[in-house]
């Protein structure tokens, strides 16, 4: 009977309906793999995967997981599509500029595969909502773009017992691993604490080769499918290091650390001290990629005075005597700078301090107002007292004073 043949491909071994005929066709290249087959495709269809971030890493991950037939994809991102995203964030197109990323992503994923349910969270991932959101999914994919969210993702996954498929990128390099499995290490086993703001540039300040998130995001998608299917050797206990200029791939061992504050079990050595997300709130307080205030830095250095673009413009108009110092990198300087400023990149400010006049007022600025706070902090530590940082940086100056400056 012809119907028997059809049943073999549309029912699981216990007879439950699994795949509609059009799904059998859609996923036929999976069904032909011994390691996937009809049972495996059913597991993929039943899976619920949460993507933290619908940006560079989230784009390829979401596209491939949707195409693969992951039944429910959760997307959390508070951001809107910006033209500067399109160089690498393939979920979004030119016509999506200005739309919430999760909406643009949902439309794209529906087109890729209408069988997939997309659950969107158009909000920030915060200590208040993290556990509730994470608990609704089987696997979390970390495609965030800042340390605060990465530590929050890790700790929430450990507390909720969720696997965390990690990937991150910087310039030409990337990392990937699988954290938060039973007995496996977590992100804090490797990197115990986040760096202070300003020491390591985030994505908004640092360049990245556009295809690099494609390379790392597709590795995250691969690991996610392996976890769902229970096949192969996921990157558990291993950190993959990708260097795209030399095009080298290397894995290094990551061991579960009994003294890890998140997942460690040796209480006498500080293991497992993070019992709730309130325990490490300061680790999650770093400013996000596009944020215009330096809350974390400001908290660390309450003495740093900030001035607004309007206040700075007024000082210029009045002919006040002050040093205007741009602490960005030379390539950013080339894209546009404030009149009368000179360039002293953040990394060189300590050395340059010797040549600055401590009796003159100094106004520091960067792109978004975070690095200039860090620079101000260094100058104050070096004994300078008349130091101010431009709140919101040159981007806020552009928005409020001089629209002819380019955004980047």
């Amino acid at each position: 009977m012809g119907s028997l043949t059809a049943d073999r491909f549309t029912q699981t071994s216990d007879g439950a309906p699994l795949l509609a005929p059009d799904e059998v066709l859609r996923y036929s290249r999976h069904l032909l793999l011994d390691e996937v087959g009809i049972e495996g495709q059913g597991r993929i269809k039943a899976a619920r995967v949460l993507l933290i971030g619908a940006g560079g890493l989230g784009s390829p991950t979401a596209l491939y997981l949707a195409a693969a037939g992951v039944g429910t994809i959760g997307l959390i991102d508070f951001d809107r599509v910006d033209e500067s995203n399109l160089q690498r964030q393939l979920l979004h197109g030119t016509r999506d500029v200005g739309r919430p990323k999760v909406e643009s992503a949902r439309d794209r994923l529906r087109d890729v595969n209408p069988h997939v349910t997309v659950e969107v969270f158009n909000t920030r991932f915060t200590p208040d909502n993290a556990l509730d959101i994470v608990r609704g999914f089987d696997i979390v994919v970390d495609g965030s773009d800042n340390f605060a969210t990465r530590y929050l993702t890790n700790d929430a996954c450990v507390l909720a017992g969720k696997r965390n498929v990690y990937g991150s990128i910087f310039r030409f390099e990337g990392q990937a691993s699988v954290f938060g499995t039973d007995g496996g290490p977590c992100y804090r086993c490797l990197f115990r604490e986040p760096p202070p703001a300003g020491l390591v540039p985030n994505c908004a300040e640092a360049g990245v080769l556009g295809v690099l998130p494609g390379l790392i995001g597709t590795i995250q998608a691969t690991e996610t499918l392996k976890l769902i299917l229970g096949i192969g050797e996921p990157l558990i206990g291993r950190l993959l290091l990708v260097e795209s200029l030399a095009m080298t791939f290397r894995t290094i061992k990551v061991r579960q650390d009994p003294s890890c504050p998140a997942c460690g079990t040796d209480v006498s050595r500080g293991g497992g001290t993070i019992r709730s997300l309130a325990d490490r709130a300061h680790d999650y307080a770093e400013v996000a990629c596009d944020a215009r205030t330096g809350s974390r830095s400001a908290k660390a250095a309450p003495s740093v005075r900030e001035i607004t673009p309007a206040e700075l413009a007024e000082k210029v108009r009045l002919g006040d005597d002050f040093d205007l110092i741009d602490v960005r990198e030379p390539l950013e300087w080339q894209l546009g700078q404030l009149a009368g400023a000179r360039l002293v990149p953040l990394g060189t400010i300590a050395a340059a301090a010797r040549e600055l006049d401590p009796t003159r007022e100094i106004v520091l600025y960067c792109k978004g107002g975070v690095r200039s706070l860090a620079a101000a902090e260094q100058l104050i530590e070096a004994g300078f007292s008349k130091v101010a940082s431009l709140n919101g940086g040159i981007m806020r100056w552009r928005d409020e004073i001089d629209p002819t400056l380019p955004r980047y």
């Binding site: 971030g53 940006g55 560079g56 890493l57 989230g58 970390d142 495609g143 965030s144 773009d145 800042n146 340390f147 990465r150 990937g167 991150s168 990128i169 910087f170 310039r171 030409f172 390099e173 990337g174 990392q175 490797l190 990197f191 115990r192 604490e193 986040p194 760096p195 390591v200 985030n202 994505c203 640092a206 990245v208 998130p213 950190l239 290091l241 260097e243 200029l245 030399a246 290094i252 061992k253 990551v254 061991r255 650390d257 990394g347």
Partner: protein, 95 residues
């Protein structure tokens, strides 16, 4: 004895553009910390990216001695032997 050191691209420019370096250190009882300090002396601009002001490793930069994280084998006190490889892996957060 000589120890080879691998830096990530982002730090290589602070070490004269070299991703792969060799550090010659005295033969006896030498540790990862001594190798790092020797490197810091050679490249002062790189020094603050390698360790904190007290000479201790940062919690967001991991050192591998051959294939093992030194956190689990004494940190900067882990001893090195001729021909060992030290790899510096910084936390990165872009996405």
């Amino acid at each position: 004895m000589s120890i080879s050191i691998t830096l990530p691209t982002v730090l290589a420019k602070l070490a004269g553009g070299n991703k792969a370096l060799t550090e010659e250190v005295s033969a006896d009882g030498t540790t990862v910390g001594a190798v790092v300090e020797s490197l810091a002396q050679r490249y002062p601009a790189l020094a603050p990216r390698l360790r904190d002001e007290l000479g201790k490793p940062y919690p967001f930069v991991v050192y591998y001695l051959n294939d093992e994280n030194i956190q689990l084998s004494g940190g900067f006190d882990a001893s090195v032997r001729d021909g060992d490889e030290v790899t510096l892996v910084p936390a990165i957060a872009g996405g």
